[in-house]
Symmetry: C2
Subunit: 246 residues, 2 copies
């Protein structure tokens, strides 16, 4: 049955999923576009599929869950991009637990959803075992963050934990925890990649908090020209992860 | 004198600079925020400074060029961000010529302004001598691109050139030109960083064009997990540039 009204109960529910508080209440989030929907299907995360009335349906979608067809105008209003692909899905929230701790990324108050999503994508690419999301990080179910992960949100184990508790816990388990800082730091190329290793990336404006830097086993900086003050945090993190790749 | 009307001739001119065709006609572009305006001043790129009526002026700005104060509502409409800092500047276009050719980045149809700006920032950070912007690249004077450069747009030599002409020209000058590709490629960690070196990054969707890959002295790929299909292009480029840093 075609959903034609913005007063339809399902449609109203989906529209609410664009806001963080409603996502958390429902335990659901939206993904957009064929690639992300297929990733969600292959990871069993789907509860419903939403297609625009004019979409040519991919057979793969039909088996994955209930399909709702909606008017183009309503679909486009629900989508977060300007020229959306004609398929979306509602997914269950639920991060997979971090198993191995050979390589971990710790995030301290990363605010930009694009940076967060890109870091998740790079962490998956470079074989990291997981990400610990500290306090103050932007919501990973934000549409921009999900889009930037390019599907890695379904592949990479992630947990939320206060980093001032996570760091000593990891250290007790034999993980060397490194900060990123320009002061009292070792150049990346001089840091040994052996053993269990975690490193912290900090907020886009203020970097890793002083409190957390006080808990680390050392700090890393990325060698660069002095007249450039800093790198984008998703760039810095990815360069470090490539160098520590598994 | 306070500019209070959106019919003011100067204001109308500035508003037009938000569009590429008018920027090119005028040979001018806008930068926003204290950091970028100061970078523009220190590189002599400023023609006019625009401040919001409620701004507390930095003395540094006064000496740099004529200052125009405008109504808050007009300023916010001119700005491209939602909560703009209260200062902007009109800058002269003009890229500095590439001098040395020990390390060059060649860009083939990079479409996302954030990616372009981030690559410029990373190229400056890792000591690259310049960027050659091939056909089909997004405008570097786009506000998102400028913001992502964090000022590096004023620091890094850049030239526009058709890459199918640039590659043989560089090769004749003793520069090894590498493509980026998953096929017939050497892992990044296996590529020698000695000698003069340039590498090509391609379009976000389609990668480096086949025609250009046919001209290179070899191709690089970045070692990563197989289940992740690709990296963001600004990440890939920055990881490579770090490894080839000067």
């Amino acid at each position: 049955m075609l959903i034609e009204s913005n007063q339809n109960a399902k449609y109203k529910h989906w529209m609410k999923l664009k806001q963080k508080k409603h996502r958390e209440k429902a335990g659901e989030f939206l993904v957009e576009g064929e690639h992300l929907v297929k990733e969600a299907i292959s990871h069993g995360a789907i509860t419903e599929i939403i297609v625009r009335e004019d979409a040519i349906m991919d057979g793969e979608f039909a088996a994955a869950g209930p399909i709702h067809t909606i008017k183009a105008g309503l679909f486009d209003k629900l989508a977060s991009t300007q020229s959306p692909q004609p398929v979306m899905a509602v997914c269950k929230m639920g991060l997979s637990k971090i198993g191995a701790c050979n390589r971990l990324l710790l995030l301290d108050a990363i605010q930009d959803p694009g940076n967060l999503g890109t870091l998740i994508r790079s962490a998956a690419a470079f074989g990291f075992d997981g990400i610990i999301l500290g306090d103050g990080c932007v919501d990973i179910y934000n549409d921009k963050a999900i889009r930037a992960t390019q599907g890695a949100i379904f592949k990479l184990p992630m947990e939320r934990e206060n980093l001032s508790l996570a760091i000593p816990r990891l250290q007790q388990g034999g993980v060397r925890v490194l900060g990123t800082s320009l002061a009292q730091a070792t150049p990346l190329s001089g840091v040994s990649a052996s053993g269990k290793l975690a490193f912290i990336l900090g907020n886009e404006g203020s970097g890793v908090s002083k409190e957390l830097l006080g808990l680390t086993d050392g700090n890393i900086f990325i060698e660069m020209r002095e007249f450039v003050e800093s790198l984008n945090v998703s760039i810095a993190g990815s360069v470090i992860m490539y160098n520590f790749r598994q």
